[in-house]
Symmetry: C2
Subunit: 206 residues, 2 copies
């Protein structure tokens, strides 16, 4: 069991209707140690992947993306959400349904902050139906960029987002994948993931 | 002129109606070097002040608050905004008018993430009329906490927020204070601030 799975078991709360609350460390209160460890884990899992920019969507992804941008020493950009579509003259615009707010949101990034040819690492705290991530992918492609990878803290494995993204061929890394959880018994089962292969990560003499 | 004033002159854009766009480094694209320097500058200006928690409001303040929480090694919490008032049973709730969206927003924090007796450092990217900061102060007081200080990246000095907060006795530190700016001539004047007094910061032998 990895650090994030352990943290979810310790501090996450299962609510009815398949809702997992991780407000206490990830998306309302931020525990810096956990967010930092998530950033380092993404850096490890995307080892060897060229990254020119870290992209997320407001608001919960910003803390992780900031610490990861710091590790990569690249700019971070967060897409903004809005119910109303203002002028799109200077913006890349896509759409995503918000299950939290039960409405369609416009998701946009101003032109200068995505560029043709850039290799973009997409980051978010949660992946469920993949609406937000697909909107971010759309924005990267509109700008002529390339998706270097997708890093998710917690994937809800019983929803379709992860399955679709893997079928579409994206390099998706989810640190914790919930295969099922049960409110009545307050139990969570995580999908087994490959262990860190120490034999493939030789220590280099500096 | 300090680092942030220089950055504003280099990369900020003055728009009509007294709007300063700093999208390229602060509140859409995030330049990590600048955000980190802002965090270190707050740490310096609040030297000697006890801080148990860093508080901001979604979304633009999260990056600065995350790096500052890292420097202080304390939890960060960001207040959430919502048009609609759901159940307030488990939340501290206040209100702030959003000039950007031209509407009143509810601003809330779930109960466990502010606590009685805590000394809270409030952080935001911009201060203009002070609506958001006053809502955050209200939340801290509802929880029985204490405002340790208020750190703002850019204060619009010709609007009333900064004046009111200083009159109310808060320890407010704004890294750049804009006294006036002019769209036609694309000029900005910053309010002079006390220089860092090196004589008051003796180097300690460890």
């Amino acid at each position: 069991m990895n650090f994030l799975e352990e943290k979810i078991l310790t501090d996450g709360v299962i609510k009815p209707n398949n809702i997992l609350k991780v407000d206490s460390f990830l998306n309302h209160q931020i525990e810096i140690d956990i967010i930092r460890q998530i950033a380092y884990e993404f850096k490890r899992r995307f080892r060897g992947v060229e990254v020119n920019r870290v992209l997320t969507i407001e608001a919960s992804g910003i803390a992780i993306a900031t610490l990861l941008g710091d590790l990569y020493d690249v700019p971070v950009v967060f897409a903004k959400k809005s119910e109303t579509a203002n002028s799109t003259d200077d913006k890349y615009m896509s759409q995503a349904y918000s299950f939290t707010h039960k409405r369609m949101n416009n998701v946009f990034i101003s032109h200068p902050y995505l560029r043709p040819g850039e290799k973009v690492l997409i980051i978010d705290d949660f992946l469920a139906d993949g609406q937000a991530v697909h909107a971010l992918i759309d924005l990267v492609h509109q700008a002529g960029g390339e998706v270097a990878g997708i890093g998710i803290a917690i994937e809800k494995g019983q929803q379709r987002g992860g399955l679709e993204l893997r079928q579409e061929g994206y390099h998706l890394e989810s640190i914790a994948i919930i295969d099922n959880m049960d409110w009545h018994t307050q139990t969570i089962h995580f999908r087994p993931q490959p262990q860190q292969k120490l034999e493939n990560t030789p220590i280099k003499a500096q």
